[in-house]
Symmetry: C2
Subunit: 400 residues, 2 copies
């Protein structure tokens, strides 16, 4: 049979993820595969746990990467914690809250929805009202960083409310981990999941998760077995648990784990606080440029995620045409709107390795050109100039 | 925080998988990450489907890699096809049949077990008796290539029986795909799953699956939604389906897919029949050597998988001691026994890229040395000599 190797183009990834992967991480992926029960591999797993605990700011023993992408991380939380008949308060302010509701209902749970407009954060007052109205609720679930809009909800307050009303919390931190403050222990989060392809800048395919002792007690005390064999933490713990003896569960995605490990080493080298600050800094530069192009953010200033910038598409400009030009002529990927925002916004990511001055200026420059070319009525060079002004004036100008 | 890159040792992987990954595949993993909705990526996905259809010998449109390891491939088949109350005839002749039963029961199905001794193949007579006794059965599920014992069941006959009794078939081909004849369309298999880390010699983390039109009709006609959102093929089809428009479902594991793609290109270049023959050929050489060491196969000659050689550990020899010596002194991994066979057998893999004369001789030589050293009463050099005799006399001596 005829067949040809696939040689991907070299893009600059500034969409909602995957983000650009560092050459160090790509090199790690290509290291020789070893067995998933090899003592050297087990040593790497222990090391990985420590690195993930640092990234999540937790001492939770059960802090591991699920062997599948972020949506499997979400499912790991729900399938282990939700039993038929359980009431779960689900906050929806974008695509991913909706997916949480789907998870609850497929598992036979009862989803009580707290809805906020897309682009708005989850409203703690509405959440408290729902908690008060549903004393039977077992879990509060919400998205910390809504990748569909760029809104950052107040996870600390929401988790505190969950505790006050004796609920467990499930937090989607897919886009926040590594890019914006997330403090699992300090805030008291019970179950949290993330992805590798956002601010960690590893390839997609794994989902870091962490569970508190309270969550583990709930899982161990289930009335019925977890529907999913693959995601059943009672079994997964036997493989990722501490101690020399690891029980075979499934075959871990060895090389992908090398990549995640290296990306976590890079994060540890930089320091978590420095990474948060770097994301904030370049976001402000990008914002200056986008505003110079007349674009408006979907999310109010105080609630914005620095790593995910959802901005309105200028009137009269065709979404697809612009993104195709950026991709074909400049190898630049930015993200389309999802769901209710499709065709109305672009989502510009500044995540992990991709969050740097070169990319901010490259993105603003190319977007400026394409918009000018399509008659959007923008002056050439205004966007980059605005970003450069920001960099020149910002106290963190030293950040690369 | 202090952190160090992980540099794995260079092993020779001759256990039950992962198998050695070709340098071409490792290089593919390290290619630049692109977006999971990038037109170039979509082109690769289409190409991947064709390559998987070739490997599975099927025209099934729904032939894709699930974004998680083989046990998630198993779960994809069961979670989509089994509804609460459904009767599934499950054949158990090793570890993985047992896992199938777990899947059925967690999903609320009724598992009717057809049991055969570990090391034996699934007995078609018993299967037919079960099909006759359970006219309500919806599915027959069995393992084609039992990785825990090395037994190859007669999939063609079993699938024909399933059809005769109006059952769908679910076939575990984790260890058979690429290494031993597997003909999805000719045999009429309805749902089949495999892994990447066996005879395809890609890293673990993905699970190729294929579904017939009959299976798809059953999935579309379900009474209740699939419990798993992540594995729901109704949704996955929207992303992997044909046509230019791909609906975002989850973020595909981009770089891992590069690796699988390259391994399938290598398989296509060699030709499926040639790959099957290569596995058979080196298995016979390995067998000659193992028998010269006095070892006995768990499985009867006609039922053996060439790629997974389960042999008895010589009397008085300690399992763990030998495997540790092989790993530490020679960087050679062979597999331990699983379940009922733990401590009693070794499982020596000859899979994909690892299935070559150099490895056969290296494995026999090191095993011979270690056993001689531990006083197993074997002469030095007898194992390699026996393999060399085989290679000299075999008509396929030209195979590298």
């Amino acid at each position: 049979m005829k067949a040809q190797s696939f040689i991907p183009p070299q893009r600059t990834l500034m969409g909602p993820g995957p983000s650009d992967v560092s050459p160090r991480v790509l090199a790690a992926l290509a290291r020789p595969t070893i067995g998933h029960l090899d003592p050297e591999f087990v040593r790497m797993m222990d090391d990985m746990k420590g690195l993930l605990q640092y990234a999540f700011q937790t001492q939770n023993e059960l802090t591991i990467p699920v062997s599948a992408p972020g949506s499997a991380g979400m499912e790991t939380c729900f399938t282990n914690l939700v039993e038929p008949g359980d009431t779960v308060i689900v906050c929806i302010n974008g695509v991913f809250g909706g997916r949480m509701k789907e998870n609850v209902e497929r598992l036979g749970g009862i989803a009580v929805v707290v809805e906020d407009e897309w682009g708005k954060v989850v409203d703690p007052d509405k959440v408290e009202a729902a908690l008060r109205a549903h004393p039977e609720a077992k879990i509060l679930a919400f998205v910390h960083a809504e990748t569909s809009t760029g809104a950052r909800s107040d996870a600390e307050t929401l988790v505190r409310l969950a505790r006050e009303y004796d609920c467990l919390s499930i937090v989607d931190a897919v886009t926040s981990l590594g890019g914006t403050p997330l403090k699992v222990d300090e805030w008291g989060i019970d179950a949290v999941y993330s992805g590798t392809q956002k601010c960690l800048s590893a390839p997609p395919g794994l989902s870091p998760v962490s569970f508190s002792e309270r969550a583990i007690a709930a899982i161990k005390g289930r009335r019925a077995p977890v529907t999913s064999w693959f995601l059943d933490l009672n079994l997964v713990m036997g493989y990722w648990g501490s101690g020399a003896k690891r029980a075979y569960h499934h075959t871990a995605p060895v090389n992908n784990l090398y990549g995640l490990h290296e990306s976590l080493v890079i994060l540890a080298e930089e320091g978590l606080e420095n990474s948060w600050e770097r994301h904030r800094h370049h976001h402000l530069a990008l914002r200056a440029g986008l505003e110079a192009l007349g674009m408006e953010f979907v999310v109010a200033e105080d609630d914005r995620l620095p790593q995910l910038n959802a901005v309105s598409i200028p009137a009269g400009i065709d979404d697809q045409q612009v993104r195709t030009r950026l991709l074909q002529d400049f190898n630049l990927e930015i993200g389309a709107g999802l769901g209710a925002l499709a065709g109305k916004v672009w989502r510009i990511g500044l995540m992990g390795h991709a969050c740097k001055r070169d990319n901010v200026e490259f993105c603003l420059d190319t977007l400026n050109r394409v918009l000018a070319d399509l008659g959007a009525g923008v002056e050439e060079g205004v966007a980059v100039a605005a970003a450069q002004d920001f960099y020149a004036s910002a106290p963190q100008a030293a950040l690369a």
